[in-house]
Symmetry: C2
Subunit: 456 residues, 2 copies
């Protein structure tokens, strides 16, 4: 983009920002999302700084990184400096190395240091989500002093509803005061008189966002303080950041459970090749894994040639193993995410899944036997003279395969967690692939036992 293009927006600023004049921020964001990138950046550049800041802070704005990168650098830096620091950091995260190197030196000292500090925390942690724009007052202040302070700083704080009281001697976080208690206090009262009686709930900057969400819910907070080892405040995570983070994480988990890499943009905004890349990877891995079924089948080719009737039930039996595994995996992924279960509880789950799987397998086994009996006796299909033994084989194989599916589907999230992976990486197709190969072996082994000397 040359200098002329960068300057042009200023020329017809009025024309560009005109359609946005009557919109509230959310609607203006939606409008901006529909524009082509260059046009959207020009429109953004034409807006007043406070308006543009509000739009860039909206979690529903798409392509915020690309938009900032397309702005004149001085304007981009001015906007980043005025934005809430957590949101500015998110945007800087989306920039590539070159764009960062261009923009960061243009930022004010304070904004630059804050953003660089926040960038250093791993994604999906309290540190990455937090903002440093909170209200902190010394424990020696009165209610009136605190209220006066809040009136002055209100516009630059993400929330003023939780007030953090610091020990004046060592700056450690001592208490939390809620705004609702503060306004009920008498002006000359000490701030500590309206503080909560319980010690404040605090988190470490490295804590996973799901755990932060759990604590916020558990203690019904609007914000949670993030502290270092010396109990000095680093920032706060607010409930609306947690809400955004959880919605994003549910989408990512749903994509992963569907057996693909998580998309970071809405469906219609992903390029064709990016979409292919996100899907082809796992699909190919699963395909290569599933090739083992072809090898297993080759191993049993003689049996198959002798008893073609056995092949008729292969898809039915294999899918049942995959389905029961998929149920168990989705159950355990959520239980682990919600911390209802810990890693050490794996054996309790295993002890439960084995009988559950056996009963579920027996139910499906009975259905299969009934099906074969009706088709055979009703004359819909002839399964040969050994049809009773065949029905027993199918029924027994279903008990074995569904039990194995439930057990391995439930253990997979534990194993992934133990190996340091996200249990949510266990997808339904992954479990199905895992169970398919073993399912074939179980099926043919049971068939060999029951049908030996008759069909095989």
């Amino acid at each position: 983009m040359n200098q002329k293009q960068l300057l042009r927006p200023v020329a017809d600023a009025a024309a560009l920002s005109a359609p946005l004049a009557n919109y509230n921020t959310a609607d203006a964001v939606e409008f901006l999302n529909t524009l082509e990138l260059q046009r959207a950046a020009e429109t953004l550049a034409a807006l007043s700084l406070p308006r543009a800041v509000k739009m860039l802070e909206a979690p529903e704005l798409h392509r915020s990184g690309e938009l900032v990168a397309a702005l004149p650098p001085a304007r981009a830096a001015a906007l980043l400096g005025l934005m809430a620091d957590d949101r500015a950091t998110d945007i800087v995260h989306e920039l590539d190395e070159e764009e960062r190197a261009r923009l960061i030196p243009l930022l004010g000292n304070e904004a630059r240091q804050t953003i660089q500090k926040l960038l250093s925390y791993p994604p999906n942690t309290a540190g990455a989500l937090m903002t440093t724009e909170f209200v902190a007052v010394p424990a020696t202040w009165t209610v009136a002093q605190t209220l006066q302070h809040i009136r002055q700083v209100e516009r630059t704080r993400e929330t003023v509803y939780a007030i953090y009281v610091l020990d004046p001697a060592n700056q450690q976080l001592q208490q939390v005061v809620t705004m609702r208690r503060l306004i009920t206090g008498l002006p000359e009262e000490s701030i500590l008189d309206v503080a909560q009686v319980n010690p404040p709930v605090m988190v470490d900057a490295q804590m996973d966002q799901e755990d932060v969400a759990r604590l916020i819910r558990r203690h019904d907070l609007l914000a949670i303080p993030v502290v270092d080892a010396q109990q000095h405040m680093l920032g706060i995570v607010t409930v609306d950041d947690i809400l955004d983070a959880l919605i994003e994480e549910s989408t990512e988990d749903a994509h992963k459970f569907g057996g693909m890499e998580a998309l970071d943009k809405p469906y219609m905004q992903i390029g064709f090749f990016e979409m292919l890349r996100k899907r082809a990877g796992w699909l190919s891995v699963l395909f290569v894994g599933e090739m083992l079924t072809a090898s297993a089948m080759q191993h049993y080719e003689d049996e198959l040639a002798r008893a073609v009737v056995l092949t008729l039930f292969i898809p039915l039996i294999m899918s049942s193993g995959g389905n029961s595994g998929s149920q168990a995996t989705s159950l355990l992924i959520r239980s682990l995410a919600l911390r209802e279960l810990r890693l050490r509880d794996w054996w309790k789950v295993a002890l439960r899944e084995v009988p559950t799987g056996m009963v579920l397998g027996a139910i499906l086994g009975c259905l299969a036997i009934v099906r074969i009996v009706i088709w055979q006796l009703g004359g819909f299909h002839d399964y040969g003279e050994h049809w009773i033994l065949l029905a027993i084989t199918i029924g027994a194989a279903l008990v074995g395969i569904v039990t194995f599916g439930s057990l391995s589907g439930s253990m997979l999230p534990f194993i992934l967690k133990r190996l340091g992976f996200d249990p949510a990486s266990a997808s339904a197709p992954f479990v199905a692939t895992l169970v398919d190969v073993t399912g074939l072996v179980i099926y043919f082994s049971i068939a060999a036992m029951i049908l030996h000397g008759t069909l095989l």
Copy 2:
């Protein structure tokens, strides 16, 4: 439970509540969750009313309905009357008809009417989530009057951070004032002077909770007002209720996508038979659907007998269709839930999924052909004299099946939505079952075309 048992807790109240004395609410709730039901109810009954109310209001308390049902009815009614009305309604929801009939008449007039009103809204709607405990003031008031009012009612309101300004003439919702703006106002200023400039964002009581969440996020609110057709306020939905509702909904959606009925309790607290019931239903339905594969295979039994080599690749080919369908379904479920796409966008998705599926199928097809060539030429397995035609058959079938899988997996959520079901009911196993039968037909049709006159 007889009268003597009901009275006993009062006798050793001190002993029962002693272990809870040093806990904060969240820890006390966790402790209560570990107790056996009868013991937990006795402990709850032994606590002071305000303490017990706090614990019953905690979203992490399990079995809250059962606990209330196990309390002496007078105490249960007293607790329900003191609780936040939305949470009390949740608990009444969990009671059976008989328990409700016993408790509701014991409630005070106001609490009874509120709870009965809230019970009438369908689950997962704004009406079912809302509380009637909000702060509303007439537009004629000043900042000082409003603050004074809030100080008086603060303890009985779910939030005081959003103040709803009503038109004194007709009681319609006119404006919203945030606490942070209120405290910056001068005492004698009119409340309207510190109100937001934009008209308030409001929702209908019937609105789905996911839409409510979207609006709360979009406008960065702590609470959203629920109004009737005349713009009279019915209640508010707060961000923490939305957070709880979304976490619950993600769990339900994950269970459903895994192919089972959603559990409403943590894994270890579901009884063995309830767990079976939640899983056996869908598993059996899918199994009966999948039986069509056996019928399809029976139809091709002659071909199978002539070319056993074709069976070797059945699991591989079928699972690829299921996997690509599962990817597409998980993508579209989330896009529809987040309102990134509307029902009318189905054709845009279809136009995208067809080429995506074709390329993905071609990638897998190439992998399969390479596999067959290596095994054949490397001497690992002999696929017979027509192995080249076989490889082409497998490759072509994969293109067809993966395209069909992507297309039907992406259309399924739209179809469910169009029929009035939740798109999230489309599970990975459901898609796999749908694709499996068609996948077999595609495979054998392509085989018949390519291998006619040679193997078939």
